[in-house]
């Protein structure tokens, strides 16, 4: 390990890490906003709602993220004349917009499947009780189904967010300069593979655990109404949340 090299490359690595975090911070909410309607439509008994949602999920879960990136960036780049005439080339010309679009669609499709499972898992007694008290479909969705589904889906959704953060390293292949690309440039130029990639591996590790910690706190908050078994010890997250909420 060459610590001088770590210090020299630190500012560049931090700029890369900020880009990685920015990509994650934009793609995760965008994906979630896409996933909820997709999941609900996927469970609809109306074919015209179910089918398009199924198609989107099927395509984006069924193909590698790298192929999606190449198709949107290099593939659509071939049709720049058409895109210009439609007035959307400014969007696809920019590698960052292309990356955000693909990451959001990709995580949206995976998240939709997580939420589809969670919505199916909401106990039917909850729904019958809501129906019995005269709630409309939308009220039921808003007040009963989605809150229950969020609690059920949260651990799996946490994994998806961590995975997406790590997957952002792929957008370096469409020339976005993020943490992995910065590391690779440094490693290529100094040939010090170990120092550069171990340092960056540790930075990714810290970001991953930051996400896990944050999502654990949100989980403890979502579950705050759940009574603990008399002898059960509070989880670290529940204790951390109690401190924060004091």
């Amino acid at each position: 390990m060459d610590f001088g090299l770590i210090i020299d490359s630190w500012p560049a690595l931090m700029r890369g890490a900020v880009m990685t975090l920015t990509l994650t911070a934009i793609a995760v909410p965008a994906g979630l906003a896409l996933a909820l309607p997709l999941a609900v439509a996927r469970l609809s008994h109306r074919l015209w709602l179910r089918l398009p949602s199924y198609a989107v999920i099927y395509v984006f879960r069924g193909t590698p993220l790298l192929i999606q990136l190449y198709l949107i960036y290099y593939g659509l780049g071939q049709f720049n004349a058409v895109l210009k005439s439609w007035g959307v080339w400014w969007f696809f010309r920019n590698e960052l917009y292309c990356a955000l679009l693909v990451l959001s669609l990709n995580t949206g499709a995976y998240t939709a499947e997580i939420f589809r499972g969670a919505i199916s898992g909401v106990p039917s007694g909850f729904i019958e009780a809501a129906q019995a008290s005269g709630m409309s479909w939308f009220t039921r969705l808003r007040r009963i189904v989605l809150p229950s589904a969020f609690r059920l889906a949260w651990p799996a959704y946490t994994n998806e967010v961590v995975f997406l953060m790590q997957a952002t390293s792929l957008v370096s292949l469409i020339t976005v300069i993020e943490l992995f690309r910065v590391t690779k440039t440094m490693a290529d130029r100094t040939f010090d593979i170990y120092t550069m990639y171990i340092t960056t591996g540790l930075i990714y590790l810290m970001i991953s655990y930051g996400i896990i910690l944050l999502f654990g706190l949100i989980e403890a908050y979502l579950m705050r109404h759940m009574p603990l078994a008399p002898n059960a010890r509070k989880t670290i997250n529940q204790r951390a949340l109690a401190v924060l909420m004091r």
């Binding site: 290099y74 071939q78 010309r93 690779k184 130029r189 040939f191």
Partner: protein, 259 residues
Amino acid sequence: MKKLVLMAFAAAMAFSFGAQAMEKMKVRMGTEGAYAPFNAVDKDGKLYGFDIDIGNAICAAANFECSWVTQNWDGIIPGLIAEKFDTIIASMSITEERKKKVDFTKKYYSTPARFVTADANKGVEITKANLKDKVIGVQEGTVSDHFVTDNFGDTAKIKRYEKQDQANLDLTSGRLDYVFADSVVLSDGFLKTPRGKGYGFVGPNYSDQKWFGEGIGIAVRKGEDKLREAINAAIAKIRADGTYAKIQAKYFDFDVYGD
């Protein structure tokens, strides 16, 4: 009994040494396979190009038994050091930075690097001021990348690609204003193809030793002097007996060896 085993062992040793002396030296040649016309892969997955032909000619001249290994550019020096192959014949410039990690043979060719741009841009002189906020595409980790980064990096925006083909693609899609690379690679891999219509060279030839080194050489692991000397002798041999000229004529209409 012990004696018998020992004798059998000695006999086996003698046999294997004898066989080794008769066998040709096995050399695995590493190349990239995405740098036409120097090294590229055809539709059937077969390697072809100037580097490949020169490599095979060197093998014949030095009496090696050669096989080819392809490796992505950014992993090519680590691949050599990790003994995935024994030489790199991939149009690699001999530079001081690389010499810290590997040894080089004498050059086997040297060509200058140049800018390519759309015909409409050709009137613009290549200066730091004129390239302000322009987007230049290069292949990451190449001497062209280092040259542009060090000389234009503070005013122009530099986009780095895995492969030269991708940079050329982004020039035609309009995401780039310029690409910068070896002139022969740009000429044969892009300008002479249908996609290169409407594009051309602009600005001078760049061959500053500080960035572009002493030309293009073959890399071997540090300390492998026997292999390096054998390749140097083979380069001299194919230069002298006309093999080099024959291979050159197949790809280029000018002298690629330089002076």
